[in-house]
Amino acid sequence: MSELTGKERVQRLFKREPVDTMPCFSGQGAVVVQAIEKMGTQFAKIHTDARLMAESAITSAKIFNMDGIVIPYDMATVAEAMGRGISLYDGADGIIYPTVPNKWKTLDEIDIPKDYMSRGRLPMVDEAFKIIKDEAPDLGVGAWVLGPFTLAGQIMELDILLKGLKKKKDETAAFLDEVTKVTIDMCRHYQDLGVDFISVREMGSGTDLLSPRMWKTLIGPNLTKVFDSISIPCVNHICGSTDMIIEMMHGCGADALSVDQKNNVAETRKKLGNDVLIFGNFDPYNTLTQLEDMTQVEAIIKKCIDDGQDAIWPGCDIWPDIKAENMETYVRTVKEYGKKPSPAVGRI
């Protein structure tokens, strides 16, 4: 059999069908400065223009021989579409991701517009997906959305939300229910656009912030509703501390789990068995921008594979200002050392 394309590798991985080697892709942002420089544009511009967003994603993947692409890059698109504004930092020096400047301050103020899907940059992101599908048919295409709790923290003040979980349980639960519907709508929308997978990033819900009990009652049930509503491959990603909630994460029904470097993946694999897809879990900042010794980069990636992961994802967005050599070593190690079967996926 001839070598698989990146898209085929990604699709087969999610179906747990044998692949020639481990696909190298991410469900977190993976745009890099090398692509932005090659295009002659600026980081601040790739968030507002469909052509620049699509092209920077494709170029980033192709420069480093990645198997997949994921957009958008920032977590503010939906909050912006709900009228919470956007700070693009287009005059700032260096790389700063867009943020939401005007979050709702109380539960009473919240008023999610019915037509949010056609507002802000969301139509532009749709257009970028169309360009990517047309121009990069050989690459796996992923969308990512915020999980209900993390999205809630993007549209209202996080400290008010966190205290609300204790002080105003019923009202906060009702709000999270409403936001869950938004996450579901976004997932179905991207599913209809024909993406290969969706990563649901509930990144603010690790046990650095919330108790396992709170996770069980307020986070898990909403994530379950989200994954129940998606019929294409989906990933449950949570960064930070996840060892105490990993079984509950698994119980939410996603096709794969993604964790960051705080998770003890070898233990997680023992807890969950070999049937579940696990992605992760290297520290992207240290591994790709700081290390100067490539044997260290290689050792980190090999350990991720040896710990029993089925795809080696960065624990968070790749910091765009990577060192090219580190990125090349990451991809090469995944493809070479990943020729052996992973726990949930065999090899051709």
Binding site: A92, I96, L158, L162, G240, S241, Y285
Partner: protein, 223 residues
């Protein structure tokens, strides 16, 4: 009238149990009983927050509980602070604090700010999403002893390095503290900072531990 120990216990319990009204009542009771307000702050409110730190470290409390404890502490502090007598011979220490440009998270920053408030420092809180130049301008303007910056995300951390370089060039004596999820000891060293708290959780834990150190300092147990 309740004995001092009893009032201190009430203050402490009100913080730990995040009872804002009880904390305000106990603070007023301390004043009515003629208690030194600084003792009430340090051995009541701050002692309560130290216990919260233990509960946080042992996974009994998480961030929502800690935030509510902080709210309770401030209820008491707002009542006690105006009555604390300042020593005119000792200049008040000051800090400029804020979350770096591109970062709209401020929970960790606010908990560290609480530590400085408890200690009676002049706190210049620039808020969040603060442009790099604003940190430098404010620090030079008020000549603060400490500049404290937080970044919750890797993607905003790099701005700290620029601020440190700008401040250290003009005011090398200013101590610089970094905090936030992506900040490690290596990063702090690399950037030229004087201290760090390595995660959102650690910012909570470290901030609370610093309160403990302040209490020891006040009692003369450390220099």
């Amino acid at each position: 009238m309740a004995a001092q120990e009893e009032i201190l216990a009430k203050l402490k319990e009100a913080v730990v149990e995040y009872e804002e009204d009880d904390c305000a009542d106990a603070a007023q009771e301390a004043l009515d009983a003629g208690m030194d307000p600084m003792v009430a702050v340090m051995d009541g409110l701050a002692a309560g927050m130290e216990e919260v730190g233990v509960l946080f470290d042992t996974n009994e409390y998480f961030v929502p509980e800690v935030l509510m404890c902080a709210d309770a502490l401030y209820k008491g502090l707002d009542i006690l602070r105006p009555h604390i007598k300042l020593d005119a011979d000792i200049p008040k220490a000051s800090v400029v604090i804020g979350s770096i440009q591109g970062d709209v998270h401020d929970i960790g920053k606010n908990l560290v700010k609480m530590m400085f408030d408890v200690a009676g420092w002049d706190v210049h809180d620039l808020g969040r999403d603060v442009p790099l130049e604003s940190f430098v301008e404010k620090q030079l303007d008020v000549n603060s002893d400490v500049l404290a910056m937080s970044a919750m995300m890797t993607t905003t951390m790099m701005g700290m390095k620029k601020v440190i370089a700008m401040v250290k060039e003009k005011n090398p004596d200013c101590l610089i503290m970094l905090g936030g999820a992506p900040v490690t000891r290596d990063v702090a060293n690399l950037f030229g900072a004087d201290g760090y708290a390595e995660s959102a959780g650690n910012a909570v834990s470290e901030g609370i531990k610093m309160i403990g150190r302040l209490r020891e300092y006040q009692k003369g147990e450390i220099e």
